[in-house]
């Protein structure tokens, strides 16, 4: 049915994941690093949906739903931690966050 070859989606997913990994390593702002993680999760979701299409099975899409739910929970807790870090160090730069306890 689809005329777009499915490997194209997988390659796009890999590119997005790689860009997310690069952003994760390179960015210094902790919020942007968190966004790079979300980008990687999105890339994985695209791969899941593509595989679901490839095999004609629905489990992939169900798994994407769970990934989205876990990402929402992760975002809530992670952003709370970021708020605490920003309050205690007055900075969002990860290079200043090198001690577990002040």
């Amino acid at each position: 049915m689809t005329v777009v070859p499915l490997p194209y989606y997988l390659v796009l997913s890999a590119i997005l994941f790689g860009l997310g990994a690069i952003g994760f390593v390179f960015k210094r702002n902790v919020i942007t690093i968190f966004m790079a993680i979300e980008l990687m999760l999105n890339a994985v979701n695209l791969a899941f949906v593509t595989f679901s299409r490839m095999h004609g099975q629905l489990q992939g899409q169900v798994f994407v739903l769970f990934v989205i739910v876990v990402a929402a929970a992760e975002a809530a807790v992670g952003l709370a931690i970021i708020i605490v870090i920003a309050r205690s160090r007055q900075s969002l730069n990860v290079e200043r966050v090198d001690l577990l306890k002040l």
Binding site: M1, T2, V4, P5, P7, Y8, Y9, L10, L12, A14, I15, L16, G18, L19, G20, A21, I22, V25, F26, K27, R28, N29, I31, T32, M35, A36, E38, L39, N42, N45, L46, A47, V49, R53, M54, H55, G56, Q57, L58, G60, Q61, V62, V64, L65, F66, I68, V69, A71, A72, A73, A76, V77, L79, A80, I81, I82, I83, V84, L92, N93
Partner: protein, 165 residues
């Protein structure tokens, strides 16, 4: 070039451009807006793949709820421009090639592994109805567990972000 193929390349270009922009921008709010662009493009790609429900969830939960949370925190913390540091020289000359190597290797392996099955273009697996049936029959226990997970996450967020009195 059919319409779908053109649409795919357009959306893929938008997604990759958004991701690159996320990395290049120095201000977190600009990165957040780029990420929203990526998510919108991905939602359209899900529609192309025939996953309508996932596309809707992507827009509502990801672009809607999660990114609003991000933007809210950025504004709450009054996050400014990223600081430049000296550590980036080695990262630039070693990390960037390694990162791009990882990127291309991943893309190559994905393309090759999928190539064997790509002859069959795949059937559209499903309607939203079938997805719901599967979610509430086979996956009903994990589904209920996610509600507990969300509850714990909310509690954790409230406890963490509370001001010490």
């Amino acid at each position: 070039m059919t319409l779908e193929l053109i649409l795919f390349f357009l959306l893929a270009a938008v997604a990759v451009a958004g991701a690159v922009n996320l990395i290049l921008q120095r201000h977190p709010i600009h990165s957040a807006l780029s990420l929203i662009v990526v998510m919108g493009a991905l939602a359209a790609l899900y529609l192309l793949l025939g996953a309508e429900f996932i596309a809707a969830v992507q827009i509502i939960v990801y672009a809607g709820a999660i990114m609003v949370l991000f933007v809210l925190v950025i504004m709450l913390l009054n996050a400014g421009e990223e600081e430049r540091t000296n550590l980036s020289r080695m990262a630039r000359y070693v990390g960037l090639p390694v990162g791009f190597f990882l990127l291309f290797e991943l893309a190559y392996v994905m393309a090759r592994a999928a190539g064997t099955q790509a002859a069959a273009p795949g059937v559209a697996p499903a309607s939203t109805r079938q997805l719901a049936t599967m979610l509430f029959r086979e996956f009903v226990l994990p589904f209920e567990l996610t509600s507990i997970l969300i509850l714990i996450a909310i509690l954790g967020a409230v406890v963490l972000a509370r001001r010490e009195s």
